[in-house]
């Protein structure tokens, strides 16, 4: 429609630029990219100066991801209309969109010269700061860009032209980055600082920052003290108060004889003063009629913690940590955050006291009695959480743990009555009991290896979810357990009901993408990669527009933040993973023989020589603590775990990305097969290609060596922490080396695939999810080998035909077929055998899985569950069974396709 209208207009006015551009937009939106682009270029080369055309072209170029062309557009426009404020300002924004900081600096000044408005001047200054931030050479930033920016601002200060708060903020930013903290302090405290009014406590925050950097501990101490008197709940100032106090003590700082202590007021330098300060704050809260604040009570524990670290005996003045915690529990035990708060300080309790803390919570209730209202429930729950955090639950034997589970379940069921009127979107008050019971089941499963525990765990979580359908923690744990079981199908629904959005695609997307492909659910895998990729791609465009906005509104402090955020996403480990896996998946599932491999590689734009993964700056944005845990400190995820997990994932990513690039170079090699018997025809291009292949192969060999070393470490992560990478199973399946050498396929993989993925014995169910993973590697390997074979065939075919021609000419029957040809035929023959066997195997698995009648399991006996619970267990089992079946079907389909193309590999 829009295109037609534009055409109508163009008939009347042949050269109406704007109509052309609008038509181009129409074309672009209907998917005619090339037509749209050339039409736009047609107008652009005429260098239009009418606002409509320019704006329309800007929109079009942005949508076509060519923001750099917008700069050309306005460069031409300002040349023709040199005094236009508007076009100059558009030019500045166009540069901002592509991050051309130097040109921004110039454009800002040019604007200021035309229209001497302050914002333009400071746009230019900010662009200098951005040049400093982005400079590779820190020296250049410190000696050139920032001093220049400083001088530019100083000039305005001297001329008394500073108007806005944003300008003072920028001045502060420059001085801070230059390390001129004294000067920065002078600005904040001086008359210019009076402009800092928008943000609450803006001046105080900036002063504090400078005091800390300058190690002006008296000022830091006095300011913290002052701010705490105003708001005794603001935690950051307790920290700066204690920090500064101990620094002052270490330096034996003493009060000056006369006058004020320091500009910020009285300074405290002794433990006695700090103790009194904290005790006073607590008493203040005790006396209050309204609800008490947590800050002072926790500050007390923090101070004990710090005094103990220093070996200072004065902690006794503050009281006994156990009593203080009991007191804290008395005040805040009915709040869900009580456990989060106390958990930090549990180490203050000596081991013999640890069990004492727990029964104290139950005071006021009769033995095992159930809580009468939600507050009592929350307090009891907090006690359970504490007992877990103190390691008391872990110390129980199997019997004890099972009893604990019974008790937790009873409390869970009892607590449901308080939430009868809860909306679907609200959580049940007793949900956490259910989750904790699941955690204890997991403990039992990992300790004993008894799979029954796992089935019952699934059951209890499924039950929990039925009463509390929006509980994300239930979903996350279910998701993790199904993944560990190798059943990916139920995970798809669970994840989508989590309604993960935006940045979560980066932070928790790994939960999905780690398992989808490796469990043979290729369609789902591809889809989950797409979710994440869509987010990453939109980020780039989005951020640029808001950087421009930040310039407009003078939110200069936000600009480096926005850019850092964008960089962090671009360097995300998960981003690189989904990028690579998505392409591999497409190749494995879509590309048949080398011809289609070549097409796919070209369409994806994979270049074997190019490595687009930021190996040295990889950011691990995964949220590895997204699953709630009340485990004691020694069982929690450590920094070392995080480091190892990232290392492992990076190496695995390297294996995958090298595989991808190898496949690409194989495809391009196949592009112009050269007869191997004539070296002369070996043109440079081709030998360059094969040398790329060589380089990549040796890199892959190296990476695999590293991989072996890593897997030998056999790192164990906490159950609720990161899943281990696919590295270990890939190596043990032998597929890595098989794919790497790409020539010989052994029955090795197949051997490993023997056995049933799901078995029922003596009325119990046994799973073997690793079989699926191995099978996936097998299928991937078949694909790789097939591509190699297909390439070989394309090389050998001309050789054979030329030999046959020779044969005909010479009529010499004695010249037999060269060994290589026979070898190839033999090889493809055996390959076919292997694939056929594998297909039979998959078929067999499918058949026995279908024949498996789970209904025959009498759960009531085998699992000692109630009838209701059995229902949930059975549901979980059905999900697993059908997921296995789905995986096997997808794998079988793929394998069958490959078997067909193998048949065509005759030479």
């Amino acid at each position: 429609m829009a295109i037609q209208q534009a055409d109508k207009l163009l008939k009347k006015h042949k050269d109406l630029h704007c109509a052309k551009v609008l038509k181009a937009i129409g074309l672009q939106r209907t998917g005619k990219q090339d037509e749209a682009f050339s039409l736009a270029q047609e107008v652009a080369t005429l260098e239009p100066t009418d606002d409509n055309s320019l704006q329309a072209l800007t929109i079009l170029y942005r949508e076509m991801h060519h923001p750099e062309l917008v700069t050309k557009l306005y460069e031409a426009a300002v040349k023709k209309v040199p005094l236009s404020e508007e076009y100059h300002s558009h030019l500045f924004m166009a540069y901002a969109r592509v991050g051309e900081y130097k040109k921004m600096q110039q454009a800002g000044m040019a604007l200021y010269k035309i229209v001497p408005k302050n914002p333009y001047y400071f746009w230019s200054v900010m662009s200098l700061v951005m040049q400093a931030i982005s400079a590779q050479d820190e020296k250049l930033a410190q000696t050139m860009f920032l001093p220049l920016a400083e001088r530019m601002v100083e000039k305005m200060v001297k001329e008394e032209k500073i108007e806005a708060e944003a300008e003072v903020q920028l001045y502060f930013m420059i001085l801070e980055r230059l390390g001129k903290c004294v000067e920065a302090l002078d600005v904040v405290r001086g008359p210019l600082g009076e402009k800092l009014t928008s943000e609450l406590r803006s001046r105080e925050n900036k002063c504090m920052m400078m005091y800390q950097r300058l190690q002006l501990w008296p000022e830091c101490n006095a300011l913290s003290y002052k701010l705490l008197l105003k708001n005794p709940d603001d935690w950051q100032f307790y920290l700066s108060y204690f920090d500064s106090l101990f620094h002052l003590m270490d330096k034996s700082w003493s009060q000056p004889e006369e006058g004020e202590h320091c500009v910020e007021g009285p300074v405290q330098t002794t433990v006695a003063e700090a103790v009194k300060f904290v005790v006073d704050r607590m008493e203040e809260q005790d006396k209050k009629e309204s609800r008490p604040l947590r800050g002072p009570y926790l500050a007390c524990l923090e101070l004990i913690h710090r005094l103990r670290q220093r070996g200072c005996p004065d902690e006794k003045e503050l009281g006994d940590p156990l009593e203080l915690m009991v007191q804290f529990f008395g005040k805040f035990g009915d709040k869900p955050c009580c456990i989060t708060d106390l958990k930090i300080y549990l180490h203050l309790l000596p081991p013999e006291q640890r069990s004492q803390l727990v029964p104290l919570g139950e005071a006021g209730e009769d033995g095992f009695g159930f809580p009468g209202d939600t507050k009592a429930l929350q307090r009891h729950l907090c006690v359970c959480q504490l007992s877990r955090a103190l390691g008391l639950q872990h110390a129980l034997d199997t019997e004890g743990k099972l009893r604990l589970i019974t008790e937790l379940k009873a409390h869970y069921h009892h607590g449901l009555q308080f939430g009868k009127s809860c909306l679907k979107t609200e959580l049940q008050f007793s949900d956490m009991y259910c989750l904790m019971a699941a955690h204890v089941y997991v403990d039992l499963w990992t300790e004993t290896g008894d799979e029954n525990m796992l089935w019952q765990c699934l059951s209890v979580l499924e039950e929990g979810l039925s009463f509390s359908p929006s509980n994300a923690q239930f979903k996350l744990l279910l998701l993790l357990l199904f993944c560990r079981l190798g059943a990916f199908q139920p995970v798809v629904d669970l994840y989508s009901s989590l309604d993960a959005k935006h940045v979560q695609h980066d932070t928790i997307g790994y939960l999905l993408t780690r398992y989808a492909g490796s469990l043979g659910q290729f369609a789902a895998a591809s889809q989950s990669c797409n979710f994440s990729l869509r987010f990453f791609h939109s980020n780039q465009k989005d951020t640029s527009e808001y950087i421009i906005q930040a310039y407009k509104y003078g939110a200069f402090e936000k600009i480096p933040e926005f850019i850092a955020f964008r960089t962090r996403l671009n360097q995300s480990l998960h981003f690189a993973q989904v990028r690579t896996e998505r392409m591999l998946l497409d190749l494995y599932t879509e590309a048949d023989v080398t011809l289609s491999l070549e097409e796919s590689v070209k369409a994806m734009g994979v270049c074997p020589e190019e490595d687009d993964i930021p190996w040295d700056n990889m950011r691990d944005n995964r949220d590895l603590t997204v699953l709630v845990s009340w485990d004691p400190k020694d069982r929690e995820l450590t920094e070392e775990h995080r480091r190892l997990s990232l290392e492992e994932e990076s190496v695995w990513l390297k294996v995958r990305s090298l595989t991808l690039r190898l496949l690409a170079s194989l495809a391009l090699l196949g592009h112009a097969p050269s007869p191997r018997n004539s070296d002369k025809t070996n043109e440079n291009g081709i030998s360059a290609k094969s040398s790329t292949l060589q380089t990549l192969l040796s890199q892959l060999d190296q990476t695999l060596e590293t991989a072996v070393q890593i897997t030998e470490k056999q790192t164990q992560y906490p159950f609720l922490g990161p899943p281990s990478s696919r590295l270990a199973s890939a190596l043990s399946s032998g597929s890595c080396h098989c794919q790497a050498s790409g020539v010989a396929i052994s029955n090795h993989l197949q051997e490993q695939c023997k056995g049933e993925v799901l078995e029922m014995k003596d009325g119990r169910l046994t799973t073997r999810p690793s079989l699926l993973e191995t099978l996936v590697f097998f299928v991937e390997t078949v694909c790789v080998v097939l591509w190699v074979a297909s390439y070989s065939a394309s090389v050998l075919r001309p050789l054979k035909s030329s030999l046959q021609k020779k044969k005909k000419k010479k009529k010499d029957s004695s010249s037999a077929m060269p060994v290589v040809l026979c070898g190839f035929q033999e090889w493809t023959g055996s390959l076919q055998g292997v694939v056929t066997q594998a297909l039979d195997h998959v078929k067999g698995q499918e058949a026995s899985l279908t024949a498996l009648k789970l209904a025959a399991l009498t759960l009531e006996e085998g699992y000692s569950q109630t009838q209701e619970e059995c229902g949930f267990t059975r549901a979980a089992m059905d999900k697993v069974q059908s997921s296995y079946l789905g995986s096997l079907q997808e794998l079988g389909d793929l394998l069958r396709k490959r078997a067909d193309s193998l048949k065509s590999l005759k030479i």
Binding site: T197, S198, E199, L200, S202, N205, D233, D234, W235, Q236, Y238, R291, L293, R294, G295, P296, Y297, L298, A299, E302, K335, P336, C337, T340, D341, K343, I344, L427, K501, H502, V503, Q504, T507, N539, D542, T543, E545, Y546, I547, Q549, A550, K552, Y553, A555, E557, K558, E561, F562, A564, F565, R568, N621, D623
Partner: protein, 169 residues
Amino acid sequence: MTTLRAFTFNFDICYNNYGIPFYLQYLAHWPEYFIVAEAPGGELMGYIMGKAEGSVAREEWHGHVTALSVAPEFRRLGLAAKLMEMLEEISERKGGFFVDLFVRVSNQVAVNMYKQLGYSVYRTVIEYYSASNGEPDEDAYDMRKALSRDTERKSIIPIPHPVRPEDIE
């Protein structure tokens, strides 16, 4: 016990109801109106996000609460009230006449909380919240609290007739 700090645009957004562009827009324009609360263990407790808008001449210049969110485990600690108080103070400093917010008519818990904080229903906005899964659109209360600049508290005199979303500025 809470650390209250300016929102630094990073991975803070975990209770994200909105897309990243939405947050970026607010941060680029009204960074001072974006405050997060953090627990001693580093957990994100909640955040508030708002803006200043309206004509000064018509005495409609005011602070607006766009989003207020407290994580479930940090509820019932008075955090929402604290964050609201901070937003009101910022609006006072900007010389606003009042602070306003929109809330689902059905969200009785929130409506009551705002009433306790001194807000009153100024008007009802019909079908302000578009529903997703086939359910009908929902009305909103436009709630207001006068700031000190509005000495006669003119800005909060209720409008008896409901208005449509397109009629509000």
